[in-house]
């Protein structure tokens, strides 16, 4: 049955592309058409810029877009986490207000979850939201916020009830970042880049209609965002290709990509660049050394197995089966691969691994790998937290003993 559908979908999207794709439109105009047609996110529901297609067929649509060289909807960064969260928990007016501009790339987003006192223990957030008239008034501090310096909207977790237990006193908001009372300050990372920030809120305003889900249900909503974040880190994402195509859309997309990727220039490096290992081994002659060969083989076996494990999880999903344990392991696997890469790159590069910047191995790329990889096992939930999740939710092991029950007001804090 899905074969017939596949042919139908191909024919339909081809016909639509023939009538609509024109590389000389403006990027936003093109993406608006794409979003409204449902071909930009075909796996989304019909009412919301999608066509309700299964993931297998969504892949077919992507192929057809790629075949004619058409640009897709905007997909990078926190945008899609926001979209996934709003699709599941947002009100209709919120979906209407935000989803389309996410897809057209007009708005960028960031995630205000972590605070100085609550990172792994995210539910310990103490940034407060107090209702005054039609507005929630936000006070507090967030930290490590990737891209806050050019985001239009933020996903904000804040405390609305101090007397409820920790997880029940949180609410989830969409906040306008570019307003008075939101002070974004760059934080320099150990790799020298500044893609994350600390952000201070002083009487910043959120209109009531920007509350996502109900008051006190922020934790539940945040879990959706986090689940999508973990899934996105399963190691299948590849560094985006810079197109060489001509036309107004492509030119505009290049500018947009460059701007959007600017805080992420080092992101491929943090994943360890398994793709560079063989090139480097051949160019340095390290592939002649029996010990290095063993280490390279171990790493490539790990990387391949991680990629196939992610594919198994997707295949199960596409067949309509519940994902097995393999689905929860992507983020942990990705951090093993990244660390393995860092080890093998050092082995191959040897003494030169002490140098950095232009003129050092691969013009500084190798050095950047070595000082960027530590991010993978921290960002988006540490390896330890992932292990806790896997052990408790997948293997069903007993929960950690708790010391943070009762009214949040009385819970010991940092």
């Amino acid at each position: 049955m899905s074969r017939i559908n596949e042919a139908e979908v191909r024919a339909e999207v081809r016909e639509w592309l023939a009538a609509n794709w024109d590389p000389d439109m403006s990027l936003v105009e093109w993406r608006s058409r794409l979003a409204d047609s449902g071909w930009g996110m075909p796996q989304w529901p019909k009412e919301w810029y999608g066509r309700g297609l299964p993931h297998t067929l969504a892949r077919v649509v992507e192929e057809e877009l790629a075949n004619v060289g058409a640009v897709g909807v905007a997909k990078s960064g926190v945008r899609l986490l926001a979209a996934a969260t709003l699709l599941e928990h947002g009100s209709d007016p919120q979906k209407k207000k935000f989803l389309r501009r996410i897809l057209t790339g007009e708005d960028t987003w960031c995630q205000f979850f972590s605070e100085p006192g609550s990172g792994s223990d995210l539910a310990g957030a103490t940034t407060r939201a107090d209702l005054k008239g039609d507005f929630w008034i936000i006070n507090g501090q967030k930290v490590w916020t990737t891209s806050a310096h050019h985001a239009d909207h933020g996903l904000l977790l804040a405390r609305t009830d101090w007397d409820a237990p920790k997880h029940e006193g949180l609410s989830y908001f969409v906040i306008d970042v570019k307003q008075p009372g939101v002070d974004v300050q760059p934080l320099k990372q150990m790799n020298g880049h500044a893609s994350f920030n600390q952000v201070f809120f002083t009487d910043a305003k959120v209109p009531q209609e920007n509350l996502v889900g109900r008051v006190g249900e922020g934790w539940k909503v945040a879990m959706t965002t986090l689940a999508h974040e973990r899934r996105g880190a399963d190691g299948l994402a590849s560094p985006s290709k810079r197109g060489t195509r001509v036309g107004k859309i492509h030119a505009e997309e290049r500018v947009e990509t460059e701007k959007a990727n600017q805080p992420y220039t080092w992101y491929p490096q943090r994943a360890g660049r398994v793709d560079l290992i063989l090139e480097r081994a051949k160019e340095t002659g390290a592939n002649q050394d029996p010990y290095t060969r063993q280490e390279i083989a171990k790493l490539l076996i790990l990387a391949k197995s991680a990629e196939w494990t992610a594919r198994r999880a997707r295949a199960a999903q596409q067949q309509g089966r519940p994902q097995g344990p393999e689905g929860s392991l992507g983020k942990l696997a990705a951090s093993h691969v990244a660390r393995g890469c860092s080890r093998v790159h050092t082995l191959i590069t040897g003494t030169e691994a002490m140098l950095t910047g232009k003129g050092s191995a691969r013009d500084g790329i190798i050095a950047e790998i070595l000082v960027s990889v530590p991010a993978v096992s921290i960002a988006g939930g540490t390896d330890e937290i992932q292990r806790n999740i896997v052990a408790e939710r997948v293997l069903g092991l007993p929960k950690e003993p708790r010391f943070d029950t009762g009214p949040f007001r009385n819970v010991r804090k940092n």
Binding site: R293, K304, R312, P325, E326, E392, V394, L395, L397
Partner: protein
Amino acid sequence: MSATPEAKPESARRIRFAFTDEQEQFRSAVRRFLEDKSPTTEVRRLMATSEGYDPEVWRLLSGDLALPGIHIPERYGGAGFGMVELGIVMEEFGRALLCAPFFSTAVLAANAILNAATEAQKSQLLPDLARGARLGTLAVTEPTGEWDPARITVIATPDGDGYRLDGTKSYVVDGHIADLVVVAARRPGSTGHTGLALFALTGKASGVERGALQSMDPTRKLARIDLRGARAELLGSLEAGAPPLVRTLDQAAIALANEMVGGAQALLDSAVKYSKLRVQFGREIGSFQAIKHKLADLLLEVELAKSAAYCAAQAAAVDDPEWPALASLAKAATSETYLHTAAECIQIHGGIGFTWDNDTHLWFKRAKSSEVFLGHPSYHRELLMQRWGI
């Protein structure tokens, strides 16, 4: 599908990353059979016997379930499935640690014959193996314990319409009970991969002296076979013997990889179960992060190993050009995971894990012997690098 690090998406579509519903049903049927016939009490009973298997269980699994011929084409009396189904059987056998001459007969002997023999020989030899009426095995390694076919020294000398075999084979799985031994030997004066060929030898032929070796893993029996002018029949042609032999060993590596992930899963299940039961310091030990994190890491390792084993079987089933490389990849990946899982499973059981009465050592020993059987992980990693042209 592509095994080299640069992905080739167009060929990636050929491989399946999920089992079909039929394959899952088949797995359940095999599992139910084993739950019934191969509890560890039976494993312990059979591993203490000199034959090492129960002929009645062998008859049942050969009959209704038709397992020894699962991957043998129907025209030779088999069920006509392929490498993926064989992998499923191996995984379930590895999980249950079934004591039976399956690997030797179905994986080693049957594949060697399928790969090397003439049509007439296949029609003559395979049906008996497929219905479990005869047991077979493959003799490659010699007392040096090397798996590289280039190291073979057993000599085959033409003699009338057959050949005479001279030399010694060792580490031959089920070699003490096999009715049919496929022997890898070489033409006098040849070296390396040239002059190698496979020969069919009757286990009880004259000039064949067999002795069971004392195996550390008593669930996998090994034998030494001395050949002194034993008469044997050439399988296929004398000049083209190496490729079928290499192919057989690669298929065996994939089958073993699938067996190993079954065993690793059984160990993980047992460790998880125990950590929910055992109480120390007033808590289940599974509530301690030292144990929790170990188990989460083991789960990751086992799932990664499954991906390697499944993928290699799927690649072999569609005859993807990369499959021999993936056979080595899977063998290296799964043997390390299996042994590590076994060691950690003992650790999690504490003192009781080191006792004879606890079942963990049964899998530990299988893991240990599987680590070197068909070649140590470092041998396969090197082979993988060569096959990837690195």
